[in-house]
């Protein structure tokens, strides 16, 4: 309904219902609708994944797009597409595997200090930088006509959105988000710390591992589909907490905030400015000042964790 041609809501509804409408069937059904669906699903995946990591590690900086999980999934996605010429489902699977591997590696590299802590975040930032160079290298070797792919992996973009990319994200979101919500109550108890949670009869290790695997799956598959859309995972949780207050559970709210952020930023990037910008540029503009603010504030308090 926004764009160079106007279609009435009725026409759009008919396309969604599966009818064939001249013109609108292609524009809405093949371009706009998968793009919107991917924006909502990936945004939700980023938001939930981010807030799960932030909750478990008790640190806002410990979001998966900052500690290298997204970069791992992204690097695997680029390698899968550029060098191995894999299909969408295989790329999603590869990204998931890489995300889990990176999460495991970061954990092993920082485990000496116990779970959480500044060390894990610093190791993660290092790993993220390393993996980002893998992405850049792969793209430099890629075919020159693969420009949409390049913007997707470098900044995060919905330009490549099509139903085959939406499907894996939809499957993972519908499988893991309800599972995380089922564990939500125990996750809330984990926020009291491992000792108290154990004392209250929560199986800390089992809850933590299952929730982390679910969160990694979310971020990996969403990153495979639309690249690392900057800062959505990082910002959604704190915004959700601000909206619903500290007592409630931020998981569902963070998912909704994430979806809105991606959808809104994509709309802005496509139509509000003279040139079309990928969605990651817009979220990056929003997120970077927030990250700087957070770093300044945590420095003032005295520690990052």
């Amino acid at each position: 309904m926004v764009g160079e041609t106007f279609y009435t809501p009725v026409e759009v509804a008919r396309v969604i219902a599966g009818q064939s409408v001249p013109g609108a069937s292609y524009t809405v059904g093949e371009l706009r609708l998968p793009r919107t669906a991917l924006a909502v699903l990936a945004g939700c995946a980023f938001g939930v994944s981010g807030v799960v990591f932030q909750t478990l590690l008790r640190n806002q900086l410990a979001s998966p797009d900052i500690i290298g999980i997204s970069s791992g999934a992204g690097a695997a996605g680029v390698v899968g597409i550029v060098f191995l010429h894999l299909g969408q489902a295989a790329v999603s699977g590869l990204a998931l595997g890489a995300g889990l591997a990176v999460a495991g590696a970061i954990y092993l590299l920082s485990v000496r200090q116990g779970f959480g802590g500044t060390r894990l975040i610093l190791v993660g930032i290092g790993v993220a930088a390393l993996l980002q160079s893998v992405v850049t290298y792969s793209l430099s070797r890629a075919a020159a006509w693969d420009l949409p792919t390049a913007t997707r992996w470098l900044t995060g973009s919905l330009n490549a959105a099509s139903w085959p990319w939406v499907a894996p994200v939809a499957v993972v979101v519908t499988a893991t988000v309800p599972a995380i919500l089922l564990l939500d109550h125990r996750l809330a108890v984990l926020r009291l710390g491992d000792d108290l949670a154990t004392g209250l009869g929560v199986p800390v290790r089992a809850v933590r591992i299952s929730v982390i695997v679910a969160a990694v799956a979310l971020i990996a598959v969403a990153t495979a589909a639309c690249g690392p859309i900057a800062f959505v995972a990082f910002m959604s949780g704190p915004i959700a907490t601000r909206l619903i207050g500290p007592g409630g559970s931020p998981v569902l709210a963070a998912g909704l905030v994430g979806a809105l952020l991606v959808l809104g930023a994509d709309l802005l990037g496509q139509f509000a400015l003279g040139t079309r910008y990928p969605v990651g540029v817009i979220t990056g503009l929003l997120g970077a000042p927030y990250l700087i603010l957070l770093l300044i504030r945590s420095r003032r308090i005295g520690a990052v964790s």
Partner: protein, 271 residues
């Protein structure tokens, strides 16, 4: 509530890497009594308490709850019998007192954390027993150290367990607040027969407020018994390497330790 649950440790050994922290500790916690674990820094007090609450897995030996190994029991079942207040618990930012105390109901609720009227009653009772009912809607961040410690104890009360273990519940509190917490725990013990085990640094308060003392030295139980049996110059010397004079506390009649250092001593006693 009846206190029939027994908590014992058998030949408990525990090490961090190469360092042996507990070596073959046998402990019997007397049901319905208030017990303090005492000893010098690094003697294994906190480690023993953490092993008793399965926060640490012993290298060898076992902790038995009602004669069953703690490690074999379902976590939720243990959590309904055995409450625990760690040394410096952290609260999530901005959480309210009522919310935090409510988390104590976790082991009694289903996995979705559904609340029953019984849960609400117990939380209300815990809030009033600790004298913080009027703070229920306040954020934890706004409270003083003493108030905060009462909130944590209220949370442990909401857990509604027969046995409650506390790691240095009076640390960082000034003297009036230390007494307030100890009085509160004594009330709990008298009113509901809750078995209480705590790590305490202040020997005189431990001797005054507790029925039993367990003195550790170098990861072993040096002596366990009533304050009169444990607080003697000979045992204080053995446990703390400290010369002392012991006399009855004029307030409670419990034994009171007067430590003897190198300065400010009128005359040496040969007790």
């Amino acid at each position: 509530m009846t206190t029939t649950h027994s908590l014992t440790a058998r030949r408990l050994s525990l090490s961090y890497g190469d360092r042996q922290v507990l070596s073959g500790v046998d402990v019997d916690i007397l049901p319905g009594a208030v017990t303090a674990v005492i000893g010098g820094n690094g003697c294994g007090k906190s480690t023993l308490l953490r092993a008793l609450t399965r926060l640490l897995r012993p290298t060898t030996g076992q902790v038995l709850l009602d004669a069953l190994p703690l490690t074999d029991l379902p976590a939720r079942q243990v959590a309904r019998t055995l409450g625990l207040l760690p040394q410096s618990p952290t609260a999530p930012d901005g959480i309210t007192v009522a919310d935090l105390v409510g988390r104590g109901r976790t082991p009694h609720q289903g996995i979705f954390g559904q609340w029953s009227t019984h849960d609400h009653e117990i939380v209300a009772r815990a809030l009033s027993a600790t004298g913080i009912a009027d703070l229920a809607e306040r954020s934890i961040d706004e409270l003083s150290g003493g108030q905060r410690q009462r909130v944590w104890i209220a949370m442990a009360l909401a857990q509604d367990t027969d046995i409650l273990l506390l790691d240095e519940p009076t640390t960082f509190l000034d003297l009036p607040h230390q007494l307030e917490i100890l009085d509160l725990l004594r009330d709990l013990n008298t009113a509901r027969g809750t078995t209480i085990v705590m790590v305490l640094h202040d020997l005189n308060l431990a001797a005054r407020y507790c029925d039993r003392l367990i003195a550790l030295r170098d990861g072993r139980v040096a002596v366990a018994g009533t304050p009169d049996q444990v607080v003697t110059p000979a045992i204080i010397r053995e446990v703390f390497d400290l010369e002392s004079h012991v006399m009855p506390d004029p307030v409670s009649g419990a034994p009171m330790v007067m430590p003897i250092g190198r300065h400010r001593v009128l005359h040496r006693t040969e007790s």
